[in-house]
Amino acid sequence: MGDIVSLVTKRLALGLLTLFVVSILIFFAVELLPGDIAEAVLGQSATPETVAALREQMGLNQPAVIRYLHWLAGAVTGDFGTSLVSGERVSAAIGPRFLNTLFLATYAAVIAVPFAIILGVIVALWRNTAFDRVANVLTLTSISSPEFFLGYVLILYLAVRTNAFPAIASLQPGMSFIEILHRTFLPALTLVLVVTAHMMRMTRAAIINLLSSPYIEMARLKGAPAWKVITHHALPNAWAPIINVVALNLAYLITGVVLVEVVFVYPGVGQLLVDAVSKRDFPVVQACCLIFAATFILLNLLADVGAILTNPRLRHPK
């Protein structure tokens, strides 16, 4: 077990290092944007004196490196500064919305991951049959369509025509859990449609890749039925690539939801990010980017650990 702990620790350290580099990129990329933040805040009618005063007040006259360090120090403790537009704490603005985004992502993942993997196993079992082809075509179609298009199609059929689900996924305080699930079903379903194909195809490919292995032939020659050959002999050895693709898609569920949130008017981070960009609210943009990057890095880290834990050679060293 000592090996695994040290491996995981190494990965964790590497993840933190990556996050540090990303934070530098985010800060200085925003820094490079044209225009002056003070001027942007005050608008065109501002006098040079008021602009200078605001610059002084915001600390913009300090060198960029010092400001970066201040920002980083704050970010580490969860303090991303104040919004330039509303004057609110950025963390207070993002916090509840990030929870909403997490909720939607979890909702979609709970449906999509088991669905995609089970479907992947089934198409691997029935490979090259009509079912396999139909499943491939359908999932490919859904992944090839832009998510806003899928969203509108779902709204048309499941909200406008049949009235089964609400078209707008706005949340009010005091809603019951069931109500929330019902209200957010359409955005969740859109996300499911977007991420299923990738995971299903990877599951299928990873399993089929193993089917020519001698131990699969051995399992057949021991009289194991076809489904057992797939689930018991191939799948346990196929986890590493599957987990990696699942992690990538989970990360996408959190960071790629911007359009879906806009389509369904869902109060998540994506909406906030779009607003912040259009209003040049830089502290909010930076905070969102950093949270997205951290999500990506964390999920990939989990995927690495998962791949290690499913490898018997690493789990049970000689």
């Binding site: 001698p214 051995m218 020659l221 009289g223 002999h233 050895n237 018997p312 050679r313």
Partner: protein, 552 residues
């Protein structure tokens, strides 16, 4: 072994035809083979690669690999016609009444499950035993097969157990449902000679104890002589001849069989070292230590190779033979010690060596398949080193490539523009040799160059290497685990074990007793054609003093 076993017929195959799918057509690869096996009888199937041995073995289970189909004939197993039996009923035979032991146990055990869980899979599936019962039975079989710690070894994962032990565990697994018939498909080919013995002894024991019938597939005559009551020789999907073992060994009828028997007869004269003490060896390995990461793999290795001589480096897998080669070529800089070339010290890493130093030492690999880039024409594979080291261009380069193809006895006009995939295994290995020669080296490392080849083809390669050595005055370092090859071409022998040189000297001395105990173990473990060889050896040494357990 053949006494009084022949009772009723268990398996009767008649006019078996099998087709394989390639280039969008079905090709017949087994052309009407007959086979009769009685209860408790062991039939040896032997032949070169492509003879259809494994395909026939699997057909005896009613199984055809993906891309193959049984296209004609009948397979009657204990009164059941397998060619017309539905898949579900066939599946019910597999693992329960007919079991299979594969060539590489390391690849055929599922890495994700414990050995004993794989062992009990079939008995549980067929509801023959409850889990605990099946596990106890597995442990008993492990004990009978003389596996160490029979109570505990099954609870390990396959990668935690050595190759020889895994192969025995796989034999135990085949026995789990006490089948009537076991197909052994080259079960010892991937093992070292010393490990091979313990597996052979174990297999023979258990087949005797349970009076199980078996089909034993191998390309090694000496091995099949120990195991089989009857031997059937196959060539390209057709039967050559079949006879009881003793008769087949003493008196083979067909020319092809005789040629198989005669393969090991090639032997070239042994050359002595130069007597003049001022002559420096071409390559001199001096007190070399090397490691992969923190794992030390070479410990104080020293030997010399003189001009025009062949030094065979022998030992089991993991003994450090190939690592020594990597040190000489500079791919793995040694931790300690030095490599001298004609008395001059070579830089430890290939990166620091001059073009001329690099040119002098070339390598030929075991797997010609993977050592040649499949996307590059033969002319370029051979021409590239000639261009790089000799600076040849245009017409000069072409005539040099032609010359090299002539040297390796391949018609230049025919092979110049071909790709490696269009060649046979032996031809590919010849291209590997030509590529090494293109650099005009004085020293070539041959790393198991014949072990992936059939015996007759390997013989051709050995003869070619010998001819080239005489014509070009080359020195060879010949890495091999096959002592028959050593006998035929070596001048000197270096025996390695656990990264150390345990013994070295001229071949005739090395093959005459007294030996170092490890050399003795290696030599005595090489199967001989005598059908009683294994029994005699086991009597001499005792069943518990062979293979990994042997005291040396």
């Amino acid at each position: 072994m053949a006494t009084n076993k022949k009772k009723d017929v268990l398996l009767k195959i008649q006019d078996l035809r099998i087709e394989a799918y390639a280039d969008e057509k079905w090709f017949e690869i087994v052309h009407g083979v007959d086979l009769t096996l009685h209860r408790g009888e062991v039939l040896g199937l032997i032949g070169e690669s492509g003879a259809g041995k494994s395909t026939i073995g699997l057909a005896a289970m009613g199984f055809a690999r993906d891309g193959c189909r049984i296209s004609g004939g009948s397979i009657e197993f204990d009164g059941m016609e397998l060619t017309t039996t539905p898949q579900s009923a066939l599946r019910a035979l597999r693992g329960s009444r007919i079991a299979y032991v594969a060539q590489s146990a390391a690849a055929s055990f599922n890495p994700a499950h414990k050995i004993i869980d794989q062992h009990t899979e079939a008995p549980l599936h067929y509801r023959i035993q409850k889990r605990v019962e099946a596990q106890e039975d597995a442990m008993e079989l492990y004990e009978r097969l003389r596996l160490p710690n029979p109570q505990e070894i099954g609870f390990r994962y396959p990668h935690q157990v050595s190759g020889g032990q895994l192969q025995r565990a796989m034999t135990a697994m085949a026995m789990a449902c006490r089948p009537d018939l076991i197909i052994f498909d080259e079960p010892t080919t991937a093992l070292d000679v010393t490990t091979q013995i313990e597996v052979l002894a174990a297999i023979r024991d258990i087949v005797d104890q349970f009076n199980t019938a078996a089909i034993y597939i191998t390309h090694d005559l000496a091995v099949v002589a120990q195991m089989a009551d009857t031997i059937k020789v196959l060539l390209k999907g057709e039967e050559v001849e079949e006879a009881p073992t003793a008769q087949m060994l003493e008196n083979p009828k067909e020319d092809y069989t005789k040629s198989l028997w005669a393969v090991r007869s090639f032997q070239r004269d042994q050359k002595p070292r130069p007597t003049d003490p001022n002559v420096k060896p071409v390559v001199s390995v001096k007190n070399v230590d090397a490691a992969y990461g923190d794992t030390k793999v070479l410990d104080d290795v020293s030997f010399d190779i003189y001009e025009g001589m062949t030094v065979a480096v022998v030992g089991e897998s993991g003994s450090g033979k190939s690592t020594t080669a990597r040190c000489i070529t500079g791919l793995l800089p040694p931790l300690k010690g030095e490599i001298l070339f004609k008395g001059e010290k070579l830089p430890p890493s290939y990166k620091d060596r001059s073009k001329d130093q690099l040119r002098q030492c070339q390598m030929i690999y075991q797997m010609a398949d993977t050592a040649l880039n499949p996307k590059v024409r033969i002319s370029e594979i051979i021409g590239r080193p000639a261009q790089f080291y000799m600076g040849l261009q245009g017409g000069e380069l072409k005539s040099r490539v032609d010359e090299l193809l002539d040297l390796i006895e391949l018609e230049p006009s025919k092979y110049y523009n071909r790709y490696p995939t269009e060649l046979s295994g032996g031809q590919k290995q010849r291209i590997g040799i030509a590529r090494a020669l293109a650099a005009e080296p004085s020293f070539i490392i041959c790393d198991e160059v014949t072990s992936a080849l059939d015996q007759l083809v390997a013989e051709g390669i050995l003869k070619l290497l010998d001819k080239l050595q005489r014509e070009l005055n080359l020195s060879y370092m010949f890495i091999t685990h096959d002592l028959a090859t050593v006998r035929s071409i070596a001048d000197e022998v270096v025996v390695m074990q656990h990264g150390k040189v345990v013994e070295q000297g001229p071949k005739d001395v090395m093959f005459t007793p007294p030996h170092h105990p490890y050399t003795d173990l290696l030599l005595s473990s090489v199967p001989e054609m005598d059908p009683n060889w294994l029994s005699t050896l086991l009597e001499e040494r005792g069943v518990d003093n062979i293979g990994e357990a042997a005291e040396i």
